[in-house]
Symmetry: C3
Subunit: 343 residues, 3 copies
């Protein structure tokens, strides 16, 4: 990592500096572990209690936390975002040497930009087009007619199926499978008949796809992620889904076929979204919810149930199993009450 | 894709044709995007509203939708199945050139049929038997003593463990792991002791295994999928499970160890099936359900809760937490009522 | 497998033998499938009914099951654990031939112990250290600065990211991704800004990581699994999580970022654990539960709902949707009752 001073950082990023401009910064660390040459940050209020004990060289924080900071501070309107910027600046991504590793297998009909890097054991099939500064990491497999926009990075062991198109600056993490067949079946005299899956996948600029996430190719048209969509690990996106720009989906979420999700949605972990739904823009789904109906109003939705002690939960479950009976008994009492009132 | 005429299609598949037999068909498309040389289909009633505006060259549809169709039509008793057949006929799968790619690594004790295709960077371990017309795609790994029946296809980056046997015409999508160790642990003086996993996996003819799905080897006997079982992406099948013929399991479902699932079952997305259960034939499990008891009657079962607005759901959760108290209070009122009736 | 006698087994493992010491044992099998030269075991009480019909050569069982056993028996205080030991002894893991496969790609700055085995198509990046008796299976990818302790085994197609450290005797199953970037995003004028992920992953001795499981690298500090942690397949561990020694997590569980889980916890399948929580030692989470609050007392917790018939469940769901109204109506009745009591 390069080394800098607080004054340089304040100047570069436009911070108000509270502390000595000549102090050296040579590392990045959390409030709890930072030493006197490390810079740290405070963004999540639940870590405020650690601030008073930090030994960091400086802390990026909001105006309101300045008074409680025992060490030099850089005041930022958005400490988390500024932390990200500083971290990138201090630890820029390692430069990639362009070229095709001798163990990679490249089909002669594919076109690889001379500035692209193709890693060891990678496979590029026929008709692929790999743009400038693209990184195809070790063990990746590109089937046929895959297109990768400039600056896109497949970290390792990624699979891209036929007719998959990735925009610019897309990042795909290891084990992701983009463009496998969707789950299309028709019953034929007691035996399943596979329905051909003919579409591709189109992924916009600046998307990020997590490790072991799967995105199926469309049945006929393409499955589509608009720009700046962010998928965490082990997300499953079925065929024909369309996800709007800037939507973020946390780990272990599944989205069933042909559903359309709007822009700026946030879907928390392990939720399931049913098929053939329309979810409008700016919808937030809380953790482990089951979405089975379309949503046409922005806002927060959910159906997850927080765990409690087994004993208490078992008692609730037993009662829940009788809720229909209880409702009837309640109505019975109300009826009696009404009748006694009449008499 | 090859090109054809409506008359040829009607003759080949036995459709009643409503339109000019000489009209050209050269593409496959959805109702919404089809042009005058594309064939489309209508199977899901929720897309009926699009039918009246389609510009398709022809639509495969059911008798009852014929009157509403503004373009030529092919009437079918099962439009979705016939769509699948026509799509296969118009776009037959690309022929695979047999042979072993020079970058593949094949153990000398394995037997590869001369008509099989082994892709780049694939690894075939000792004692494997690869049948006729089998495709082992790029980056696949076959451990030892794997057997692949004729016409089976491993798309790419598939792992098959020791003693895994696949029948004929099985399709396995990228990232699937079949035959890894099951989760067997015995506690030994405060430390886990791994229980050896000795069984294999047997998968019947015509099964399909989704991307990043995992199927563990049996602990002692084999884990078994009977013929024509269909698993979507990111399904987890634990050791010793047996799944009956023609059962279909949607994405993100987990099945715990030693459970037996019957024939013709359908399990919707993200459900969890507990261990050591018996699920009989023709059981349907709805989305995001938790199955913790054996089921001995065909029919539909579930426990998923559809999401609603956060505010409404929070109110329900609070009340649910008091359901035991409410039931007691209801009974208290009933008791009072009975006593006042007596007096 | 090697062959032995009951007498030898009884001596080797200290069992009380009930049967002829000279009887041959040459195989391992379940109670239901065992033949006269196979040894089997009874640990799960639900299989007791099979004991009376077994044709096994001998059964490892608890004292209390001895009377019901129709064949020779080896009495053990812990039949499951002793089964594991005997299975290992009779079928020791196949010896691995050390050396680097000619198709593997090894960076010249990495250090590989001469007794380690690097399989076909594997990739070892710069700065890695691979210990004694380590197995790096076919198709594995080690990024940079990965350290593997003695006796550790990566079965196949495993990805280990930058600065990932595995202790001794760790087993990682195919498709696991350890050390991919965590899901860190800051919103910047309507566009997501990726927050650099700078930490590594540290995994203690004797851990086991299931197939297609993902463990993200820390954002700043490392993500940590202490010794003897056992993760099943398709588990997702987000950045900065810490999991205590001897904790076991079943398939399809997700743990969100920065959560700390204690020692000797057991988390059943498909549960979700929220972010920034503290779960103390010896907590058991039942299947498909949603943990959204910290837990500071050992014990069993849950929120999973067992499935029932669709009709019954739909009726419960309708009533649940009105639970707030019912509670109000109950209180209304109570109020009336109190008032009438006063009068």
């Amino acid at each position: 990592m390069q080394s800098t001073t607080l004054g340089q950082l304040a100047g570069e990023f436009g911070f108000a500096l509270h502390g000595p401009p000549e102090a050296r910064i040579s590392g990045l660390a959390t409030l709890a572990t930072a030493g006197p040459e490390d810079i740290s940050f405070l963004a999540n209020p639940s870590y405020r209690s650690i601030l008073s004990e930090t030994r960091a060289g400086a802390v990026i924080l909001a105006e309101e936390d300045l008074a409680a900071c025992p060490v030099p501070a850089l005041v930022s309107p958005d400490p988390y975002l500024d932390w990200a910027r500083i971290a990138e600046w201090l630890r820029p991504p390692e430069p990639v040497s362009p070229g095709i590793h001798p163990t990679a297998s490249i089909h002669e009909t594919s076109s690889i930009h001379p500035d692209a890097s193709i890693g060891p054991q990678a496979v590029v099939g026929p008709g692929c087009v790999v743009g400038q500064d693209v990184q195809v990491g070790p063990g990746c497999v590109l089937d046929r007619d895959v297109r990768l926009g400039d600056g896109t990075r497949l970290v390792a062991q990624v699979y891209l199926g036929p007719d998959v198109t990735l925009g610019q600056r897309v990042v795909v993490h290891p084990g992701a499978v983009i463009g496998a067949d969707g789950f299309g079946l028709a019953m034929d005299s007691g035996h399943w008949h596979k329905v051909p899956q003919l579409g591709g996948v189109r992924i916009g600029d600046d998307c990020e796809i997590g490790a072991n996430t799967t995105i199926d190719r469309g049945a006929i048209d393409d499955t589509v992620l608009e720009e700046d969509v962010r998928l965490d690990n082990q997300v499953q996106i079925a065929h024909n889904v369309r996800i709007g720009a800037h939507t973020a989906i946390a780990g272990c979420v599944g989205v069933a076929g042909s559903t359309r999700i709007g822009r700026y949605c946030m879907i928390a972990g392990a939720s399931g979204i049913g098929g053939h739904l329309e979810i409008c823009d700016k919808v937030v789904i809380t953790a482990m919810s089951t979405v089975l109906d379309s949503i046409d109003r922005p806002g927060q939705y959910g159906s997850g149930i927080p765990a409690r002690s087994h004993r208490e939960w078992q008692r609730i479950l037993v009662r829940l199993g009788h809720i229909d009976e209880y409702a009837r008994r309640l109505m019975g009492l109300e009826k009696k009450d009404r009748e006694s009132g009449k008499s």
